[in-house]
């Protein structure tokens, strides 16, 4: 009789999902990188303790559609891929007063976007200047890297520049960052094509130009009239945190970097584990810098700048 009662209770528990794993919702978009990263995460160690549900969003997804999908999924945690997912989630937190923790990845400007968020933490997708410059120094055998020039918009990147300078100073690299809004007195294009051009070509003063990925300064006009022109007329190497701008066809940057998706998946999984297994809160975690990167070496550009690749450097050589 006792055995039967125990059996009945056990079967009831099974039916009531008492043994069901907690759910992690992955808010994602269509695209190879999103799919690759999702696969890495859903086949990680998290699979031992959690189930996953993918919720696809597009730029046209409304808040109501998002809210309905999340409420139906009832996740323990959300992984938000891309700025659109983060925007929808921010609205969700404001309206629903939810306490679900979220980890944001594969989006831009998270340090600013999530600065006041209590329930969303994440990993920046931009390649840190520290990583880009120190690894370029290693990859380019014998190249001096003490003074690096950079142009930035003070209204958007002041904090970033301050942080970069502090970090690079540890490596005795001086970042000479020029606020084009201030120096140009409103005429950014004019400043860059005159004084900016002169500075970028001064190989006696600067060892490299660090190109910040700023959509405000990398407009098609400025890219054609200043960036591309100066890089092709200058003997100073251009360094950038994007593979596409390192392509030999473009003839722009000599060295570039981009996120390594396997490492990003690992960093994401560790952040999720710290929240769900160790009880850490997003408010304390905030936004981490990207750690794992891929490196790209533009062979043709390197040859024209007489730069020699360090044989110990594991870079993808682009021809």
């Amino acid at each position: 009789m006792k055995k039967n009662i125990v059996m009945i209770i056990f079967i009831m528990c099974l039916c009531s999902n008492a043994f069901a794993k907690d759910l992690i919702a992955i808010i994602t978009k269509k695209g190879k990188d999103f799919e690759d990263l999702t696969k890495q995460i859903t086949t990680s160690d998290l699979i031992d303790k959690f189930e996953f549900k993918e919720i696809q969003v597009t730029n046209a997804t409304t808040y109501e559609e998002f809210q309905k999908a999340v409420k139906e999924a009832n996740p323990k945690l959300m992984i938000l891929m891309d700025n659109k997912s983060v925007s929808l989630a921010k609205e969700f937190y404001e309206k629903e007063k939810s306490k679900i923790q979220s980890v944001a990845i594969m989006g831009l400007n998270y340090k600013t976007m999530l600065a006041n968020e209590k329930n969303i933490c994440g990993i920046a997708y931009e390649v840190p200047s520290y990583t880009l410059l120190t690894q370029f120094k290693f990859a380019s055998e014998g190249k001096k890297l003490s003074n690096v020039l950079s142009f930035y918009r003070g209204s958007v990147f002041s904090e970033f520049i301050k942080e970069s300078k502090e970090r690079l100073a540890l490596e005795k690299i001086t970042l000479n960052a020029v606020d084009v809004e201030k120096e140009g007195a409103g005429d950014v294009a004019g400043f860059l094509s005159s004084k900016g051009m002169e500075m970028a070509k001064d190989a006696n003063k600067y060892d490299a130009v660090y190109v910040i990925l700023d959509s405000g300064l990398l407009t098609p006009e400025l890219f054609g009239n200043f960036w591309l022109k100066s890089s092709q007329e200058s003997k100073v190497p251009y360094l950038v945190g994007a593979e596409s701008l390192t392509s030999p066809k473009m003839n722009f940057a000599v060295f570039g970097m981009g996120p390594n998706l396997q490492d990003l998946a690992s960093q994401t999984v560790q952040m999720v584990q710290s929240i769900l297994e160790d009880g850490k809160k997003c408010e304390k975690i905030k936004v981490e810098d990207l750690i794992g990167v891929n490196q790209y070496w533009n062979k043709k550009k390197a040859s024209s700048l007489e730069l020699k690749k360090n044989p110990k450097a594991e870079v993808n050589e682009l021809e």
Binding site: S44, D45, P128, Y130, T131, T134, Q135, K137, F138, R167, L170, E171, K172, Q262, D263, S266, Q270, Q273, S274, D278, K280, E288, D289, I291, G292, K312, E314
Partner: protein, 228 residues
């Protein structure tokens, strides 16, 4: 006719793995997969060598019970099914002490339990934490892991961790990439350099012979002076 059927069965056995070339699974974290692959394939000819760059893939490979494994010291704590039979060495010794490095000279050994530690991904998160806590005789607030040695310095610079645990010879290599001043906070108990492990019951002789015959130049590219 009989011979034809005999051949068919031999092919079936090979394809299903009932007869297989001896397998060597290799995973250690101090150097690149390419370098390790080159060194292992030259030494272990006639052995099915697979070098893994990620712990999860290596862990998966253990399900097929490879006869031989070359792995970091933490492997000896993960399974009782293998015996350590030989090790890499630096100088005259196959033992080293991990060092705990920080950018902040304010850290003292007595306080490290409050800190977050960075390390190479040589096991599962909890296994690594347990291993490091045992070797440093301290608990840590948390552990963050990376897959490549050159990612350890950024972990500290970005303040994701308070200090990193690293092998001294790996730190020497990293000095060519990073010149930031660091401070040694603590030294661990002795650990073994990456070693050759043989599954209990497998024939160790051939594997030991191949490992010990590794060319010095191959061992050197991996950061070691030889094997013992």
């Amino acid at each position: 006719m009989n011979f034809k059927y005999f051949l068919i069965w031999i092919v079936i056995f090979f394809e299903t793995g009932l007869i297989r070339a001896e397998e060597l699974s290799v995973f250690f974290t101090n150097t690149s997969v390419k370098k390790v692959e080159k060194a292992m394939k030259e030494s272990f000819q006639g052995v099915d060598v697979t070098v893994f760059g990620r712990f999860r893939d290596f862990k998966e490979s253990l399900k097929s019970n490879p006869a031989f494994v070359i792995a970091d010291d933490i492997f000896s704590t993960l399974t009782p099914d293998y015996d350590r039979v030989a090790s890499f060495k630096i100088g005259a010794s196959s033992k080293i002490n991990l060092i705990l490095l920080s950018l902040d000279e304010g850290w003292k050994k007595k306080d490290i339990s409050k800190g977050k530690i960075g390390a190479l991904e040589s096991g599962d998160r909890k296994e690594i934490q347990k291993f490091l806590e045992d070797k440093f005789s301290k608990t840590f607030d948390s552990v963050k892991t990376v897959s490549k040695p050159e990612d350890l310095f950024p972990l500290m610079v970005f303040k994701s961790v308070d200090f990193i645990a690293i092998e001294p010879h790996v730190y020497e290599e990293l000095k060519s990439r990073f010149s930031a001043a660091v401070f040694e906070i603590a030294k661990s108990k002795e650990i073994s350099l990456p070693s050759l492990y043989v599954k209990k019951g497998a024939d160790a002789a051939k594997a030991i012979q191949a490992f010990k015959a590794m060319k010095t130049e191959d061992a050197t590219t991996l950061g070691f002076s030889g094997v013992e």
